[in-house]
Amino acid sequence: MTAFSKDEIMTVATSRYIKDGDTVFIGTGLPMVAAYLAKATHAPNAALMFESGVLDPRPKSIAKAVGDPRLVSTARRTSGMLDSLLMLHGGRVDLGVLGCAQVDRYGNINTTAIGSYQKPSTRLPGSGGANDIASCARHHLIVTRHNRRTFVDTVDYLTTPGHLTGPGARAKAGLPGGGPIGVVTDLCVFGFDSDTCEMVLESLHPGVSLDDVRAATGFEVIEPPGLGETVAPTATELDILRNKIDPDGVYL
């Protein structure tokens, strides 16, 4: 097994959620690298959609931003925000990939404010398109670093819906999308229990223990029967990441 970094296994684990032919709504950073990796390996027909109005870009080098000119100049279609977000709203997106500042056991995300809303201790950037993605994409995936500041019992502000208060809550609220299907961190991968809608451990990354995950999580971590290990990045995947997608190490 080739040695790999925490960022690299997060990226590879994220890329495996992207299926060939999917339309994937995505932001910049590690999720974008993961999407490029998926397109270069098992999902060549995945199309990426960005809130800036860029659809299906094939840039030669990694973009720095959703508004990066190299996304626009290699896209199959360029329009505007209402166009891309209304395609999402119409149910045309298979998978969204989101980051977070805080997340609870139901996958509810805060990216708005730490502390009180009107006079926060830390004001964060806000929803952007994240709430639209989590509301309307068929499913979404959460990708974040793992620590107790992020994995909390209760989010200070509910910006972006996970499974809200549990079974049936999304349907009752009128949300069309299916909600979060997984959480990829630098320690492990979570899924969501189909009965309780709560986060359940799916696999530990190589070298990570259950205690490591518990120490970094602000709510109870449920150990499922037959807990496995996350499949490590292959030499091919690492080669593509290091030499083709992000040779300058901008993200990884």
Partner: protein
């Protein structure tokens, strides 16, 4: 007889924004923001503004850093690749600016409702979250209602917004304000159609014939436009698609300064108030620096060869 030209200067155009006005600016990421206009607005001292901010991180950050903003209807304000907008974050944390948060789509649809002259538009986003339940704006933004059709399905609705002024930076425009924008247009269409006044700043002023030759990419219909200003490098230090790249050094100078209010005062003194107008600002940058930012395939080949 020729139609009347709407061409004017930056100072006259900026005076169309009255103290206390609500404003919406073009741009997305680090490109397409009318920053020359924003600098002039700051010089004139116009304050107590309300921003309807979807992707106008740079205009909002500059205005908030100069204490010109009272409240923001916002969906997202951050500097992609850099981090939080520090002046905005500080102002909200100190309770100096009031905010009401939305999703991108919900805030875009509020402008679209204003544009279409309907009181609201339905939306499925924001349901079940604090974006819907925490309403801190002057008027309510979100409600639930029953569809009058199909058995009365309940949906969310967002209230229309009509900004007093929209300021849109374009690649080129004719003298009547018909503006061409290359690349992604962000929410320009909804901003232009909802605002009571529209100001166009343009990299180039061209003939009506040149606009007609590309009439499929006219993002700003001139019938909405009140003033047109010739504003080359109007998005600096940000970029403008098909014109010039982001000035990464210039952006970084600002971002470093934004770590403290004191450094920001120095930044605006030396990068804004030191210049009487946009021409003096460009002159301080010098033609070589501006030339090096130009987007041009031939220049790119020449640069890589040298």
């Amino acid at each position: 007889m020729n139609p009347t030209s709407k061409l004017t200067g930056l100072a006259a155009a900026a005076r169309l924004v009255e103290p206390g006005a609500s404003v919406s600016f073009s741009g997305f990421g680090h490109a397409g923001h009318p920053l020359a206009f924003v600098r002039e607005l700051i010089r004139q001292g116009t304050g107590d503004l309300t921003l309807h901010a979807i992707a106008e991180c740079w205009p909002a950050e500059f205005l908030v850093a100069n204490n010109r903003v009272a409240r923001i209807n916002m969906s997202n304000l951050m500097f992609e690749g850099l981090g939080r907008c520090r002046a905005i974050s500080r102002a909200i944390e100190n309770g100096e600016v009031e905010v009401d948060d939305h999703s991108h789509l919900a805030l875009s649809l509020r402008l679209m409702a204003g544009a279409w002259n309907v009181p609201f538009l339905p939306v499925r986003s924001m349901a079940g979250t604090d974006l819907a339940s925490v309403q801190t704006g002057i008027a309510p933004k979100y409600a639930r209602l029953a569809s009058p059709f199909d058995g009365g399905e309940e949906v969310g609705a967002v209230a229309a917004l009509r900004p007093d002024v929209a300021v849109i930076h374009v690649n080129k425009a004719d003298e009547q304000g018909n503006g061409v924008v290359y690349g992604a247009i962000s929410v320009i269409d909804a901003q232009v159609r909802s605002a009571k006044k529209v100001i166009v700043t343009a990299e180039r002023i061209v003939s009506a014939e040149e606009i007609t030759a590309e009439n499929q990419v006219v993002a700003v219909p001139g019938i909405f436009v009140d003033a047109v200003v010739h504003t080359p490098f109007g998005s600096h230090p940000g970029g403008m698609y098909d014109e010039y790249d982001e000035d990464l050094a210039g952006m970084s100078t600002y971002y470093e300064a934004s770590r403290s209010p004191e450094a920001l005062r120095d930044y605006f003194a030396s990068h804004l108030l030191a210049f009487a107008d946009h021409a003096a600002y460009l002159n301080s940058l010098g033609s070589r620096r501006l030339f090096d930012l130009r987007v041009d395939p031939a220049l790119k080949i020449a640069r890589s060869a040298s």
